[in-house]
Symmetry: C2
Subunit: 417 residues, 2 copies
Amino acid sequence: MIRAELVVRNLREVVTLREGPRPRVGDAMRELSIVDRGAVAVDRGRVAWVGAERALRSAVRLRAGGGVHDGAGGVLLPGWVDAHTHVLFAGNRAFELPLKVAGVSYAEIAARGGGLYATVRATRSATDAELLDSAARRVRAMRASGTTALEVKSGYALDHAGELRLLRLIPRLARRTGLPLVPTYLGAHAVAPEFRGRPDAYVDAVVRRTLPAVSRAGLARFCDVFCEPGFFTVRQSERILRAAARLGLGLKVHADEFVLSGGARLAARLGAQSADHLLAAAPDDRERLAAAGVTAVLLPVTAFALGGARRAPAREMVDAGVPVALGSDCSPNSWVESMPVVLAQAVHGGRMTPAEAITAATVNAAHASGLEGAGTVAVGRSADFAVYPVGSATEIGYRFDVRPTAVYRQGKSVSSA
Amino acid sequence: MIRAELVVRNLREVVTLREGPRPRVGDAMRELSIVDRGAVAVDRGRVAWVGAERALRSAVRLRAGGGVHDGAGGVLLPGWVDAHTHVLFAGNRAFELPLKVAGVSYAEIAARGGGLYATVRATRSATDAELLDSAARRVRAMRASGTTALEVKSGYALDHAGELRLLRLIPRLARRTGLPLVPTYLGAHAVAPEFRGRPDAYVDAVVRRTLPAVSRAGLARFCDVFCEPGFFTVRQSERILRAAARLGLGLKVHADEFVLSGGARLAARLGAQSADHLLAAAPDDRERLAAAGVTAVLLPVTAFALGGARRAPAREMVDAGVPVALGSDCSPNSWVESMPVVLAQAVHGGRMTPAEAITAATVNAAHASGLEGAGTVAVGRSADFAVYPVGSATEIGYRFDVRPTAVYRQGKSVSSA
């Protein structure tokens, strides 16, 4: 008999999403590995048993003082892994909307010293406590929407000391919220205002000073670069990423978001962990990403927030055999906390099926974030999952704003926002 | 001194949205009538006082046993009025998504006997209890997202007895959920399957049999028609709407959603209460709607769910001086319960400012629904409002998934979903 501290039962479906050594591609993205009328047993924070509820009684014994969660006929899924966030920032940019409404582009707003730089000013002048408080509110709201792990980028300080400060806050934010946070150094989010007009000098500072310090202190798992006209050229991006790789960091690229500028190509050439955004990527870039096994991290809410007719190219990437993951891109530019809202945008905007979107937001997002083993419900893995009041997992992504009735992290209920 | 059973204080902003005799147009849609650092007092279910918090103590005395709600520095807004829903249905249509993903249009899915007719089959075969239970779950989720009044259409039975049954369920749903629901007869949602190929005979049945019965029993406030190729022609729609007007019902038109077919023009000619959808309406239709004072009820989530590059023409309508209201269109085809999610789609997709979207989802939606007096926070009006954890009302619509921390209907907390 397996001993359990917690049993979750009365579930129409348990979505297990078997993990594999690589992110899923093509038809495998539609395989959710569902146990009909399933149940899950948890012990010591880990999944101890998964199976059909009719086998539960003969397989599992509840420990004294253990609990039973009645799923009320709903569906249990692994916690979401949010593969791309900028959740650590201060302030907000609601004031930009009249500009956006008038048709001013993000690049133009940034060029006028607004946009990203407005958030840099707010973030630099915020105290540690203010940053932690506001980011923790967002991460808790994510958690209440079913997210149990996320990537978090620096990039709203840009100067050496400020970037190190942001990266040092990430483990504190993880402790505060109880979620695993994967830190990414994104000093090359934009040229720091102190280096205005001297992008190569800023790249020098990133490569020679900040990156080595980040690496020495073990502050980041990945290095990311915003490769886009007005931000960093392919050549500058490559210089930073090659330096990061030499220091043992994984690589990510903000690639081809606004215009086709070679970011996806660069990610494929360097074998990056992921190429993110990709709204303007060329059809042959898909072949390159697929061949190199680079995960496309798509951010459908941001695509929508750009206005116009932009849609995240999810269908095209899946059909081309690129592993696709999803992220909220939660930031002052696309402030979304709920992954089910992101999935709906990926389905109705990016033309994924709900099953593909679920795979993209769990096992594939885990791979993109270096969190292998997350995004599944599997014996021995951390008991990170949520229960949704739906009759089938495919209603997530179909419906626009599904919310879980319960969220568990390491087998403990963490539902409240 | 004003006596109060409830005081809500510690609010950064109280958005009052002064009501007027007509829906707001143009620049007036940006005037939210905000009390900075405001407070609200409630007595006997109605707003008894609104003002600056510093004036609260000298103006209001709490009754014995009365309560104080600390708004935690958030923002209080009137409850949303959702001006267009099909919330009374059975089943779901997640199974259609692989078709949608493959590019099959809504009209084509309907023509194949799927789409709307699949929901008609499910709704006809559901018991009253099943319909009430599933609709009540949705309405409670809406309420937890800050909606305190909504319009509800029939239209998923189509046959005489079935449509009357749906309309009779609406007051029961209202009692069950405690929200005012405005019933709309939409027998002309599609040609009933029994009349396949004989649309004029179905229109006959609507006009001669069902409409008079609906009117006699006082079951509907409005009559609506789906005026679109493959559904009802302008001529058929006009026949139904004129009959409804003679019976004293208000008029609504599902107009120019897929193609420009004259629905908006018809709504203007008949002086309808609203013309809804309007994705394909012509520029001169905007002039017609503005001149006739017909409210454009826009449904930005549905526009998005149609795929392609569709956006609700909110900016264009506001700029043309058309009164604009918003609705969720909650249905199996665009299943969204949260009005803040709808507002975000209207802002980022339809290019409204947050203030315009808030006006559209409160006072203007109230006018579109015949609920004058709803959608405001005003002395003497029902105390229907919600508190949001944001620093400014304009963060709603800017952020994609804001949720209220508290919702009040007639001065009673109704927050839980």
